[in-house]
Amino acid sequence: MSLNRRTFLLSTAAVMALNAYAPDIALAQAAPERGGTLRVAIDQAVSVLHPLLSRVNPEYLAAELLYSGLTRLSVSMQAEPDLATEWDANETLTEWTFKLRDNLKFHDGAACTSADVVASFEAILNPDFASPARNNVGPIEKIEAVDPLTVKFILSTPYADLPVALAYNNARIVPASVIANNFESLRLEANGTGPFKLVSYEPDRLVVVERNPDYYDSARPHVDRVELRVFPDLGAQVSSLIAGDIDLVATVEPNDFMRLEGEDGIDALRAASGQFCNVNFGTDIAPFNDARVRRALALCIDRDAMVDFMTEGYGIKGNDTPLNESYAFFKALPQREANLEEAKRLLAEAGMPDGFEAELIASDRPAIRTQLAIALREMAKEIGVTINVRTMPHATYLDQVWTKGAFYIGFYNMQPTPDGIFKLLFTSDAAWNETRWNNKQFDALIEEARGILDADKRTEIYTKAQELMFEDVPSLIPAFFDVLGAKRAWMHDYAIHPRASVFRLDFAWLDANSPTRAS
């Protein structure tokens, strides 16, 4: 069969159809070529190089290049082998055993064994080290080294999602000797088992890494070097991509995305995601302690308009629960739409037929928070509620409003599992219990699902949990954002990750058209 345009289109269509079902397998379609320097634009400084302490996406990226975890997160949010090749749990899901790869080496040549894994997790769980991973790696009570290549996690409660939770951005393995002697040294130097080694580190300008010849998979990474270049101005990132000075922009704003979609030689990348901007109610503070008031506000929102206004169309409607199709174990509830009559009736029933006045606080970072606040202000006018929007610097917000306020805007990345997002924000023991909703029935459901492997049963339980949130509205979630990025066409095998904080650049490669391959 000769290859003409039609058969070519057909075959690409087939490949694309295949991709839709198996996004991870798609990474194997063309043979990767070796070499070149991958230049990545990031929008914030890599202020923290320490893998256990990093907290923003560019820092997670640097940590991911230099370090490995036991597992890693695939684009479809599954746990994949990283340092561990296989794992197993006991019947009750309270004891998990992980097998490590043979012959693992840190960048300094020392062996990486179960002792390092144990020490790393003990550091993560040690409150003195203040690692953000502490709240995110699951209910670990104890971790032991069974033999040099086997570690066992003993949990305080059953937890089916442990392998996924262990792929958390900060759950990286560092040498036990460093933890014991010089934990702080990892802020300026790196010693991991990751695909790349650190060459130079200037927090506000440039981080350079080069291939780790001792990486456990000799086929990867494909590129010789990666440069993370800090571009604080989002427009400048896009201009540099168009100019061919960089190969990948990790995150792109919707208006820049539109501009890039038509550019030759550039692939605009987009993935549906569970990322959202929400309105948090302090459910213990009047008037938001009345569920009817919260539901009334939920009913005044024109959600189609919200998707247009907040995401420029690159997103989907939310239903006041943090889950959507991007999550596993998800079943859609009937979509809530605007119903002003019902909203007014609820307000009257709550004793406020003429509405009320409230101050809605929005941090200035990212700007989308203010956008949501202003949109809600306009929509709430329709039911007689007067909202005064107050924006403030992010520092002031974190100090004075966050997790304390009665009515403010939140912004969250997608979590790997439903359990992850519920336990982060909405259960009574949530790490960031912003709404103080403290619904015992909801807590029990989330806890129950943790002990179940059966997908249908978990879906059923999480649907019940969603129904409780939908009814009681501890938080307004009007829209979800797609995650947007862009790369040059000469860069291959990079898929934008719905979690926005995972990059997997060891799989990426540059073809001969890239300017750094020639030199």
Partner: protein
Amino acid sequence: MSASYILKRVALIFYTLLVVSLLVFGITQVLPADAAVMMLGENATADALEALRNSMGLNDPVWLQYLRWIGGVLQGDFGTSLRTGQQVGPALFSALGTSLMLAVFSLAFMLVLALPAGILAAIRRGKLTDLLVSFLSYIGVALPEFVTATLAVLFIADWWGILPPAGYVPLSQDLAGGLRHLVLPVAVVSIIMIAHVSRMVRSELVDVLHTDYIRAAHLKGLSRSRILFRHGLRNALLPTITIVALDVGYLLGGVIVVEEIFSIPGIGRALMAAIQARDLPVIQAGVLIMAATYCIVNFAADLMYAWLDKRIQYD
């Protein structure tokens, strides 16, 4: 100009810096949120905050924190950044070097254009050249740098692809590449300064050219160029020196927008990042370094005054 005068001025500079350091320390104490809150961000739990504050020394009394800091500075140790863990001194001096390089190039470029433009406008006062220079300077003053920078990137980099849109390459690493990356930021920064310096040169020169001694020089039969450059300009330039000295301050701290847009790791951006992260040692040292530079440049301007105009006597 006596030695005791210079000594007095140097002492005054140190006194100024002391006051500045106290002021900045005071202000940062009043700001909401501290470095621990900013480090942990939305991962802050009460015990994590406490642990981090202890390790950063933020729980010590304020005066102790200040004394510890100033003690270090007097020994040449600016401490370590709470945000990155790096040594503050080397990081900031490297940022200062980058800013100074941008400043020197911009000043040079500005003077090369602004001086002739101002002189031309003055000697052709009221003619088309004068109007044109005035018109262009008004445009230069009226356009803020975030507008000119964005336009420059859009036209020169995006559409015509002549120059790289953003990024910074140290000249020591790659001279040609570094210079190419400097063209747009230098042009953008210069435009604003060209406007006010050329206007200043023009108005001063117009005043000077109307004085009696210039008329006397004409009557004496001196050549026009000798009158203009040797007698006119020498006096007209005095206020310009003040303006340029003030511009150095602007170039160090005020071009932060340009540094952000073109991703230049200068001291303005370093300070901005430090303020956002409540990174006290860097804020302190950054302000101190900028204040010191400012003091030194102004001191140098005063000395240059005395050198250019022998009538000025300091004592």
